[in-house]
């Protein structure tokens, strides 16, 4: 199958048509057991359930999204979100440049905050952030440190493809010159016997280990297949990496005048067959024949990866972990992977359908909410977005400036320390969680230092960055505490509101009682609102998103 055919077959129109059909029939994402996979007609039964869904599907619930979801129901809300035009980063960055304004990496971060907090296409933005933690590039790397526009364009690539087909996404990612710089396949050359060089193995290895099939053969439910001796089965060998390294040769910046005469830009890389290895290549048991062009080899190799049985369970499980729960049941992974394999119209790798299947699944909605190890630790940066979205964050100067979020949260958009992201999907903190054979990836960036830094940032947001407070800097993001202050005259009403928006109505009786005792002796309504908010967003019950 050539790239051109892939594009035609997996057009976004196909995905939209499927989703539209779903909305009409209130189906639940296709495949699997209907009794387990859907919420029926799909209107959240109460505000708390709506908040729970929006915590998974957006950067946090606010009044408008709660009302919209409760009005539309899950299916129509998802369809409406998917129909919204993408809010992109690069145009605003380039507008700054064209206006002669300073354009630094911190401005890309500010644009990320603006979209996370205010963009209408929340589902798309949230999915793009999840994808950015799988298909990782980072400006913490020399190659991309100064490439503000390039990083914005790469993030936009993920935004644009958030509901598209995986085969298109992996090709766009592979041909992104920013990915090419980050994993060094940009201008990777065929073997040169005179200089005694051979192709760079970097992208070949990581595209398999991280972006497609993973290290071990998987069952359809994401569990590892075992050999006769009970051992996991490696998905590929070093010789497959060498074969694939030869595939990824001959790609340079678009519109280069010559292999050595190029101008860096942001368009997909283009092939130079003189620098592409045309010998046969053995990749995952398939021989790519001699004499193929760079584009032909790339198309076949990406087809091999995209059609590999591992892709659906490997990436479905990670998307579930990013959005819903750290330890999904194998059955949940299997249901989502089944949609990955076939969205109901015969299309494989329909990411929009996969996302929908993740969110409307019974396990995401109601299935295991009561189980003690259900749910996930909120990513530290998403604790901040949840707080700000819930209670109306404002940027008085419109900049949404938050320069180096990674200093506080140990994470920020496209700022991982390596291609292995901020945390690994199989990370388990020492102690009870590891002993139980469970994982909790986000704990990899939660240590004594980052926990206090994050909690202090919550304090700063609530006490020192307040709208209308003259001491709060007007060039930062400020919280509008007025509505909550009004509400704070009634301690129970205040607690109920925080419970609904931040804890999805699941506040324990113990926490409620401790909060009540604390708040009733505070007579200033603003301080009461601030203390209540601070104590809730620093509580273990907020940290764990159920």
């Amino acid at each position: 199958m050539s790239t051109g055919q892939a594009s035609a077959r997996h057009s976004p129109r196909t995905a939209s048509a499927f989703l539209f059909a779903c909305v009409l029939t209130a189906c639940s994402g296709g495949g699997g057991d209907q009794a387990n996979t859907g919420p029926g007609p799909g209107v959240p039964p109460n505000e708390a359930e709506a908040a729970r869904f929006l915590t998974q599907a957006t950067f946090g619930p606010d009044d408008a999204s709660l009302a919209s979801l409760q009005n539309l129901g899950y299916s129509d809300w998802i369809a409406a979100q998917m129909a919204l035009p993408p809010s992109l980063h690069r145009p605003e960055i380039e507008a700054r440049q064209q206006a002669g304004m300073d354009t630094q990496p911190r401005h890309r971060q500010a644009m990320w905050w603006k979209r996370a907090l205010t963009a209408p296409d929340q589902l798309r933005q949230r999915m793009a952030f999840a994808l950015s933690e799988i298909f990782v590039i980072s400006d913490q790397n020399d190659a991309l440190g100064a490439d503000v526009v390039g990083c914005a364009e790469y993030y936009d690539l993920l935004v644009r493809h958030a509901f598209d087909n995986y085969r298109e996404l992996i090709e766009s990612v592979s041909l992104s010159p920013q990915m090419g710089k980050y994993l060094s396949h940009l201008r990777n050359q065929k073997p040169d016997p005179v200089a005694n060089t051979r192709p760079d193995e970097n992208y070949a290895r990581e595209v398999m280990q991280l972006f497609s099939i993973g290290l071990f053969e998987l069952n359809a439910d994401g569990t590892r297949r075992l050999d006769g001796a009970g051992q996991p089965i490696p998905t590929y060998s070093q010789s497959d990496i060498i074969g694939l390294a030869h595939v990824f040769t001959g790609w340079n910046y678009a519109d280069a005048a010559g292999w050595f005469d190029y101008t860096p830009n942001y368009r997909p890389m283009e092939p130079w067959d003189d620098y592409h290895d045309m010998q046969p290549k053995l990749v995952l048991g398939t021989t790519l024949p001699a004499g193929r062009t760079a584009r032909q080899d790339l198309a076949q190799a990406l087809d091999l990866l995209a059609n590999h049985a591992n892709v659906g369970p490997f990436l479905s499980r990670q998307l579930i972990q990013r959005l819903v729960t750290s330890n999904p049941s194998p059955a949940y992974v299997a249901r989502v992977a089944a949609v990955w394999a076939n969205d109901g119209t015969g299309t494989r790798g329909n990411l929009g359908a996969v996302l929908r299947a993740i969110l409307v699944d019974g396990e995401a909605r109601t299935g295991e909410v009561g189980a003690p190890d259900y749910g996930k630790v909120r990513e530290p940066i998403l604790m901040q977005t949840a707080l700000w979205r819930a209670f109306g964050a404002v940027s008085p100067d419109g900049s949404f400036m938050f320069a180096n979020p990674e200093f506080t949260f140990a994470q920020a958009a496209l700022r991982a320390r390596s291609v292995f992201n901020f945390f690994r999907p199989d990370y388990a903190p020492q102690g009870e969680i590891a002993a139980a054979g469970r994982v909790s990836p986000e704990f990899q960036i939660l240590d004594h230092t980052s926990v206090i830094a994050t909690v202090n940032q919550m304090y700063r947001s609530i006490f020192e960055r307040v709208l209308g407070d003259p001491a709060s800097p007007q060039d930062e993001i400020l919280l509008d505490l007025a509505p909550l202050t009004t509400l704070a005259a009634d301690v129970d009403a205040l607690i109920d509101r925080l419970d609904a928006l931040l804890l999805m109505g699941s506040m324990s009786a113990t926490l409620r009682s401790i909060l009540h005792s604390h708040l009733e002796v505070e007579n200033d309504n603003k301080l009461r609102a601030q203390d209540a908010l601070y104590l809730v967003v620093t509580s273990p019950e907020f940290l764990v998103q159920k």
Partner: protein
């Protein structure tokens, strides 16, 4: 064992005496550990002094065959053919003159890191040749034939990085060798602070069976804001009450423990650091040097914190030099050299240069062959050990044959290691005071290798 409950209950109960930044072993286990630690002290001739190991992880896979390079004509010629454009010219190498070890070749240090040459020549640093992950000694023929098992997922960053931190090249235990080492000497420390301290975030190396590492920033521990005045005190009290009441999921309890412990230990550490004499030694601005500066500051307050044994972890990133290696790698080595030199100077300033040993680790060496702009993931690599107790100016283990297709080449210049990671770590553990009777349980595959102690700390 439900560690977290006991840890939190202790914190809530206000008992700090036995915290050790960790959950507690059973009383019987504790007694056993104390006995073995005391036995070890006795065998040292009563030297109940301080010891610290500082592990410097060179993240991404250091191209260590360009850090220490053959400089004799024949040795350099073989090296040059294998490395092609990546070769460091013979005339630029900084000569070192090992007093023993190595082989007939002469050696030089990369010109970007004169401090490494100086430390080696001063007898403060040793080289451990061709170290890597192994399940058993392995010849090239055995590697090719598959007759000796090899570690899983060779050449993968995440996997090999993990295996370097484990007691053997098999990912079948939760603890790292540094943390387990700390477990075995835990009873020598009296304070609440964990003996395992990372200045580079979470790391498997420092996990013990009982020890839980403490994580600190390059500027020290971070105080909780908003705790001043009556309102702040009230808020802090309630916050800690909420943490203490954490229930439901293990994730919630884990966070509560971590948060509460961070508050508790910050007061302790900040108090000690504020009272300490500032370090006179100047450190470079690079991130590795700043992490090592924090290690030096923590070592300077070892006495008020009640620490007799400590293991530290720091990290220098950027070694994954697939491209622009000729520009990037010298910068990394320059930072490494200047950071290590400053740290060693600080140890001299504190009077603990023989009590503190520093070692490098890296998930793999790199291919000798070039991809045109850099090198790819390899296997064995050379490592450095530094400190006053190190048998310096010597080479331990065997420096590899650098010929492509030679006896150490696993293909494309991926060098098959001749010394296992645990031979190096066990040598350090011996020095650190792990009782000899514990060595084979600490390092379960150590007996596979003929030399369980490489002698660089003898």
């Amino acid at each position: 064992m439900n560690c977290n409950h006991s840890r939190r209950d202790l914190l809530i109960g206000g008992s700090r005496a036995l915290l050790a930044g960790a959950c507690l072993p059973t009383m019987r286990g504790l007694q056993k550990m104390q006995e073995s630690a005391l036995a070890s002290l006795a065998s040292e001739g009563g030297g109940a002094g301080y010891k610290a190991l500082v592990c410097v992880f060179l993240d991404g896979g250091n191209d260590s065959f360009n850090m220490i390079v053959p400089r004799d004509a024949a040795g350099h010629a073989v090296y040059s053919v294998s490395r092609g454009q990546l070769a460091v010219p013979q005339g630029q190498l900084l000569p070192i003159l090992p007093t023993s070890g190595g082989d007939t070749r002469q050696w030089g240090v990369h010109p970007a890191a004169p401090q490494l040459r100086d430390l080696f020549e001063a007898g403060t640093m040793a080289i451990v040749g061709n170290v890597g992950t192994l399940l058993a000694p392995m010849t090239k023929a055995q590697y090719v034939n598959g007759t000796v098992p090899k570690p899983a997922q060779l050449f993968s960053h995440s996997d090999q990085s993990t295996l370097w931190q484990l007691p053997s090249a098999r990912d079948d235990v939760a603890h790292g060798w540094g943390g387990r080492m700390a477990d075995l000497v835990l009873s020598m420390n009296t304070g609440a602070l964990s003996p395992a301290i990372s200045v580079a975030g979470s790391t498997r190396l420092l996990r013990g069976q009982t020890v839980v590492p403490y994580s600190i920033g390059t500027d020290g521990s971070t105080p909780l804001n908003g705790t001043w005045g009556a309102a702040g005190t009230h808020r802090l009290q309630t916050l800690r009450q909420i943490l203490g009441a954490a229930q439901g999921s293990a994730m919630a309890r884990e966070f509560a423990d971590l948060h509460d412990q961070a508050i508790e230990l910050d007061g302790l550490i900040r108090g000690a650091l504020n009272a300490a004499v500032p370090l006179g030694t100047a450190f470079p601005a690079n991130f590795l040097a700043q992490q090592l500066r924090m290690v030096a500051r923590m070592i300077s307050v070892r006495q008020p914190l009640g620490a007799l044994r400590q293991v530290f972890f720091v990290r220098q990133g950027g070694y994954d030099t697939h491209d622009e290696q000729l520009a990037k790698h010298p910068q990394l080595l320059a930072e490494l050299g200047s950071a290590l030199a400053a740290f060693q100077a600080a140890m001299v300033e504190l009077g603990v240069e023989t009590e503190v040993t520093t070692c490098t680790l890296s998930e793999f060496g790199r291919t000798l062959t070039s991809n045109g702009r850099g090198s790819d993931h390899g296997w064995g690599g050379n490592q450095l050990v530094m400190g006053g107790a190190v048998q310096g100016r010597r080479i331990f283990g065997a420096m590899p044959n650098l010929a492509l297709g030679g006896p150490d080449d696993g293909g494309l210049g991926r060098i098959i290691p001749t010394t296992a990671v645990e031979q190096m770590s066990a040598t350090l553990a011996n020095w650190f005071g792990v009782p000899s009777g514990e060595m084979n349980s600490l390092f379960p595959r150590l007996a596979q290798f003929a030399t369980p102690d490489l002698g660089f700390m003898a």
